[in-house]
Structure formats: structure tokens, C-alpha cells
Symmetry: C2
Subunit: 150 residues, 2 copies
DNA sequence: CAGTTTTAAGACAATTTTATCGGTTATGTT
DNA sequence: AACATAACCGATAAAATTGTCTTAAAACTG
């Protein structure tokens, strides 16, 4: 599995926020119900994202979470790094410590290519852009739903 | 993490066998010591690979495991599928069931590209070819070793 | 101020993955 | 036949991941 459940949920939630657009706070409860994700688990995920500075949160009535700063500058790559850590983009595919150009594993170069392909996929598009895709319709963020942009 | 520990170990062990070349049986104990992998764990991995038909095994003195059939036809893709299952090559990157062209997640197309890149990396080269690379030197399969082809 | 809504945070439980251990069975050697 | 080697197999344990619950703390409402 490429991504942990934590990252899967986190990405879906962040894309959902991007799809909504706007700067209002959205309650985690609401998001968890819309996307069919465990509320308490999602809460923790947002706490991590808040510590990483990717969202801000607000307590009390009409509180919730929202994308922090400019959605144009947030990438999925940053979300994955905040939740799963940077291993996917840095570690040897065979788990060998100190796998470098000098002392490579047999897959070193090949994996470097695949990895940058993945890094591109997650890093080239901003959350804002994907949000626009979502609003244009035709995409979904949960099982069985046609669209979950809002 | 792209691959499970099981697959990481399995690939390293299979590449090791390919690097040795030849048709003799090599004991799992010996392999586990050479590659610094838990013996009992590696035993189980080879059992899975045997059930998948990628290796054959032989009990008793001078027994062990060896690549089954022609090393030219075995790919790392087959090893990963035997150990981790086909999910990496089939499932939605966000874990959404039924994510298809018709009803895609926002990453569907992008992931399809990255995925086939990975599938290529693991599927285009045979174990035999990587084995030759190993014998030519300069690669390693364990932490801290210069070369573990034999 | 009391009560409600909502995130924050930590403890706890379940599940999956990773790893270890011990005994059994097959095979070869003496 | 007795012994050594080595894969096979099931049970167990440790660790990481995933998920749940409970209590706090903050913010609003009346």
C-alpha cells in the first residue's frame, strides 16, 4: 500500500475542504459524516495537519477546520509528509539504510524514477487546482457518492 | 511505505538467489545470515513464494530453496503480488472501492500514470537480468555490505 | 453564569504487521 | 538404525497501525 489510511483520509478531507472553497470553518463532525470517516480518527488527523500548519482550527459553535493560508500553495505532497513522514520520498525501496548513488541497491535508479513520478503527482498540483476540478464535477471522494465537493 | 517488510525481504532474497545463479539449493538459514534477515520470518516468506510457484524447496541435508523454472521469466512484480497481493497494482490510491474511469477520484488518472511507472519498474526486468547486474558488481542487498551476490 | 457546541488530548482497544519459538516431517549420511 | 540437516507448520509475542471512548478546554448562546 502506497499510503497509510491516515494519509488516505487526510488527503480526502483536505481535497474536500479545497472543493468547498471559501474561508469558513467546517466542523470535523460534518466532514467525517460527509466522507464516511471515523470522527475521532479524523480529529487526530486534523490535529497533525494543524501542527504542520496546513490547516487552522477553531473551537466552539461555528468552529471547525479550514485550510490555512493560501490553498494555491498547499500540495498533497505536504499533506503526506505531515501525516506519513517523508520516508516515501527519501527511503530506499528495499529499506536499506545508506542506499546512495555510490552504494546503490539494484533498484536504486529505477526507484528514483518512479519515486519522482509519484512526487510529481502529489506535488505539482495545488489543493486549489484540485478543488476547482472537484467543483467542475465528475469526481468523488467517498465510496458510492457521485460528488462530495460540498 | 510502498512495500511491506515481507516484500522488501522477499525481493532481496530473490535477487540474492538470482545473483548467485545456478540451480543448486541454498539453505534459508544461509540466506538469512548473508542478508541479515530473521531466519524464521524469511522461512515463511519462502513458503509463500513456493506456493506461488516462484521457488522450489527441498528438505534435508543440502536442501534449501532455488528459483523455480527459468529465472528469465520471473519478475519482481510477480514476487510483490505473491507476497503483498495485487492491491498496489489495482486499488485506488485513496482506497475508494469502485474507483473507475466512470466514477474516478480526483487522483485517478494521475495515479494510473505513477502506478504503471512502478509496475514497469518491477515488471520489465527479469530476475535473471538483475542477477547479471549483481554479478557485475557495484550493487548491494544488505546494509553495510559492498556486494551480496554470492 | 449555566448550558451547548466544538476541537484537543490522552487512554484504551482491536487489528494487522512483523518477528520469535518449538515441534514435526522429510531427506541424506554414517 | 541412528543421527544430522533443513524445510514445514502452528502458536505465540511484540510492535505498529487503526479505531474508539472519555474527559478536558475553548467559544458561543441565552
Amino acid at each position: 500500500m502506497l499510503l497509510s489510511k491516515t494519509s488516505e483520509y487526510g488527503i480526502r478531507a483536505m481535497l474536500h475542504l479545497a472543493g468547498i472553497g471559501g474561508r469558513e470553518y467546517v466542523s470535523v463532525k460534518r466532514i467525517s459524516e460527509t466522507l464516511d470517516i471515523s470522527f475521532h480518527f479524523l480529529t487526530k488527523i486534523f490535529q497533525q495537519l494543524a501542527r504542520a500548519g496546513l490547516i487552522s482550527s477553531y473551537r466552539g459553535p461555528n468552529g471547525g477546520v479550514r485550510l490555512e493560508g493560501d490553498a494555491k500553495t498547499i500540495t498533497l505532497r505536504a499533506v503526506v509528509i505531515a501525516l506519513d513522514g517523508p520516508d516515501l520520498f527519501t527511503k530506499c525501496v528495499l529499506g536499506l539504510p545508506g542506499c546512495t548513488e555510490d552504494r546503490p541497491c539494484p533498484l536504486h535508479d529505477h526507484w528514483a524514477t518512479s519515486r519522482s513520478e509519484i512526487e510529481n503527482m502529489l506535488g505539482e498540483k495545488s489543493l486549489d487546482e484540485v478543488g476547482q476540478d472537484l467543483r467542475s464535477g465528475g469526481y468523488r471522494l467517498k465510496a458510492g457518492a457521485e460528488w462530495t465537493g460540498s
